[in-house]
């Protein structure tokens, strides 16, 4: 029994790229319908009049009507469309949000849509910057200037092409009539605000790493491909069967148990930091917090796995076991985890250390496993590998689960923790306060700092290692009465 290491999980699970783009396009096209689409009005400029301007409130009412959603949801959806670049604001063009008032927007032309099979090229950006240079005589924004210099350095070999093309595009654009020219310039500017956002803004185009292959593309029918299909079907046949009533019952039970704890399905106390920008929730649920929340403690009671996977729960359990003088089980289990997920270079030493501390005859923290498992393990340790202690670890896990876990839940340690657990009140923020929160956003601690803190914590734990069972027993027998376990000098530090 083991817990998957969620922090360093390199599982190459398919991470779909922005699938919402196709759906957004469909919505966009629906909005164009002359009868059922969004109402448009002309925009009156001093020099000319340009049609097809739409107001923010019209967009939002159309969305709310079409999808039967409330105004807040429509606002989120509308802002997403703007952030993706399908609609661009005519005033305040750098802020990609929808304002629910009469501010004007316009649809982006399909050439500038953010569809994925057209990668956004730096060359195009360089040409755009050169064009802006020509137009504004070198007065660009700071981040644009930096980008320009960087591109000039990296694309030096194409620079003549870039300048030539910029001049030609500039002249070609002048051939169009004034209103069209204004529209095209707005469109291009909006495109680059989306795809080269100024620093400090969050871009909707961040979709993480690229996948090596396209999971939706057709696979080549090689012999290897058919071989994999065969293995898959063979395994499906060999799989043990479970009645659907049983499996569905398990699913229902899981859903019922975890329903209240899911931040999507139920309220997250005090408030969801992603929505309100208030990080109390994260602070209250830090891995090594003194006083956990009630929800967290409740979660520990669901299963032994939950208790062990939560660092705070594990600490509590360790405290309980220390009082019961059976802490070696948990220590052994943690040592096995460390071996399994650690670096290959330290494996040999770790295995030896674990053997000396837990498995050898007369070891200081000897664990009680049955003879057969012990034999297998000791034989395996002659040539140690990552999973050599798997059998023993499973045995100990089951032992803890069946025996200690039940006693823990009834113990005073747990009851004490449960009593002290805090249940925060829900936050109720007004719009103005939400904006204030957004302004006060700060980046979190750097991962380097976090890792150092973790290391210090672990060293502290190792230094305060609990007492050897043999020494305590001998003390008890000597004095004949209960002696509180005193701190012995710490054992030599683990390598």
């Amino acid at each position: 029994m083991t817990i998957r290491n969620t922090l360093r999980d390199h599982g190459q699970r398919y991470r779909p790229r922005i699938a919402c783009l196709k759906k957004a396009e469909k919505v966009l096209l629906e909005m164009q319908d002359p009868k059922t689409g969004v109402k448009s009005q002309p925009q009156r400029l001093v020099i000319t009049t340009i049609p097809h301007a739409i107001t923010g409130e019209d967009i939002l009412s159309w969305l709310a009507d079409r999808f039967q959603i409330d105004t807040q949801e429509a606002r989120n959806f509308g802002s997403m469309l703007v952030a993706l670049g399908y609609i661009y604001p005519l005033q305040d063009h750098k802020r990609l949000v929808i304002k629910p008032d009469a501010s004007l927007y316009r649809f982006q032309t399909p050439y500038f849509w953010p569809t994925q099979q057209w990668p956004v090229e730096d060359t195009d950006y360089a040409i755009y910057l050169a064009k802006r240079n020509i137009r504004k005589k070198g007065i660009l924004e700071l981040h644009e200037q930096e980008q320009y210099n960087r591109l000039h350095k990296w694309m030096n070999h194409k620079w003549d092409f870039i300048v030539m093309q910029a001049k030609e595009q500039y002249r070609a654009a002048k051939e169009r009539k004034k209103p069209d020219r204004v529209v095209f310039d707005c469109q291009e500017r909006a495109y680059w605000v989306v795809h080269r956002p100024p620093p400090g803004t969050v871009s909707a185009m961040d979709y993480g790493l690229d996948r090596r292959i396209d999971p939706n593309a057709d696979e080549e029918k090689t012999p290897d491909f058919y071989g994999r299909i065969m293995i898959f079907t063979q395994q499906s046949i060999m799989r043990p069967r479970v009645k659907s009533s049983v499996s569905i019952g398990a699913l229902v039970k899981y859903c019922a148990t975890y329903n209240g704890h899911d931040p999507f399905l139920s309220k997250c106390l005090p408030s969801n930091p992603w929505i309100t920008d208030d990080i109390t929730y994260w602070n209250l649920n830090m891995p090594n917090v003194e006083i956990p929340t009630k929800m967290r403690v409740e979660r520990w009671t669901f299963s032994f796995g939950e208790l062990l996977s939560d660092p705070r729960g594990r600490d509590d359990f360790r405290l309980f076991l220390k009082k019961e003088f059976s802490g070696e089980n948990l220590a052994f289990w943690e040592g096995c985890e460390d071996l399994k997920w650690g670096t290959a270079a330290t494996m040999r030493e770790k295995a030896e250390q674990i053997y000396k501390s837990f498995l050898a005859r007369g070891a200081p923290r000897w664990i009680n496993i049955d003879g057969k498992t012990m034999e297998i393990t000791v034989n395996g340790l002659k040539h140690p590998h990552r999973y050599v202690l798997d059998a023993a670890q499973t045995h100990i896990y089951m032992l803890m689960k069946k025996d200690s876990f039940g006693r823990y839940l009834k113990s005073p340690v747990f009851k004490d923790t449960l009593k002290k657990a805090v249940c925060p009140e829900e936050h109720k923020y007004s719009d103005a306060q939400l904006e204030q929160n957004a302004k006060n956003r700060r980046p979190s601690l750097s991962p380097i700092v976090l890792r150092q803190q973790e290391k210090e914590h672990r060293a502290k734990m190792a230094a305060n290692a609990p007492v050897d069972i043999t020494q305590v027993m001998s003390k008890l027998s000597k004095t004949g009465k209960e002696v509180s376990p005193c701190r012995r000098p710490p054992p030599p530090a683990k390598t």
Partner: protein, 280 residues
């Protein structure tokens, strides 16, 4: 047009040092006059070759500029695809522009391959080679740029086919109403040196893309040119200091809204804008 070689082969002369009867040259006393004639002819020949190469480079440079013009006009046309300004006229103009670009590309690539493949008898000087390499890199960049525009055009035409009347309902209302007559006229004015000589049928869009991709990879295989050795001729920010043909409005100036209806709602962002309610 190259000057034809004189029948008396110079190399042979170099090797054997035997006098041949050259046009109008008499065996005057001593080797001196003869050698001088040889050197003169060789010199004149290399000058002629160099002049020819220089002419070709200038021709390619002009074709390069023409290609740039055509591709920028093509981009303006493609930007209107799928929008309310999309119509059959636009697509016809796009095809015409594409055809022109195709002709220029083909001719230019052939000439540059010839210039750079080193099949000339007289090896080019370092500067000469540099100029040719620069033209090569420029051509490849233009081709890549044009190719990406072509791909976008193909996808957009696939997404917005204008075959049926009701298709027009799904066109995006972008605010562009006018066609692109001015741009089309600009394309029509483009002059290519070899326009009249090579006439081949223009492929349709998909084949054009495939052909262009094949041409790109073929070119890169045939001529080994190191991209990084080409440097820009102008310093950064040079185009900003250049004189414009006529003083132009910036987008901010053009987007100034009529004050009457919008004054109450629009907050004037920055003082440099004029007193009217400003946009952008």
């Amino acid at each position: 047009m190259k000057k034809t070689r004189t029948p008396g082969c110079l190399t042979r002369k170099k090797k054997k040092g035997v006098y041949r009867k050259l046009h109008g040259c008499q065996k005057l006393g001593g080797d001196v006059i003869g050698t001088r004639w040889v050197i003169m002819s060789r010199w004149r020949q290399s000058v002629d070759e160099l002049a020819a190469r220089h002419r070709q480079q200038v021709e390619c440079q002009r074709a390069q500029e023409a290609l740039s013009r055509v591709t920028s006009c093509f981009q303006q046309l493609v930007a209107s695809l799928g929008s309310s300004a999309d119509c059959s006229f636009l697509r016809d103009e796009m095809d015409e522009t594409r055809m022109l670009a195709h002709r220029i590309c083909n001719g230019l690539s052939k000439r540059l391959v010839r210039l750079l493949s080193g099949s000339d008898s007289i090896p080019s000087g370092a500067e000469d080679r540099q100029v040719s390499e620069r033209l090569w890199v420029l051509l490849l960049s233009v081709l890549e740029n044009f190719l990406s525009d072509l791909r976008k055009a193909r996808d957009l035409i696939g997404q917005f086919p204008l075959t049926q009347r009701y298709d027009r309902r799904s066109l995006v209302n972008t605010g562009c109403m006018d066609g692109v007559v001015g741009v089309a006229a600009r394309v029509a004015l483009v002059q290519v040196p070899w326009l009249s000589l090579e006439e081949e049928p223009c492929p349709d869009l998909t084949n054009h893309i495939v052909g262009l991709e094949a041409m790109l990879s073929d070119m890169q295989l045939r001529v080994p040119v190191a991209f990084w050795s080409v440097e820009a001729t102008q310093p950064p920010w040079a185009e900003a200091r250049g004189e414009l043909d006529e003083p132009d409005d910036t987008l901010e100036d053009m987007m100034v809204v009529e004050a009457v209806s919008y004054n109450k709602m629009v907050a004037c962002c920055q003082p440099p804008c004029c007193g009217l309610g400003c946009v952008g």
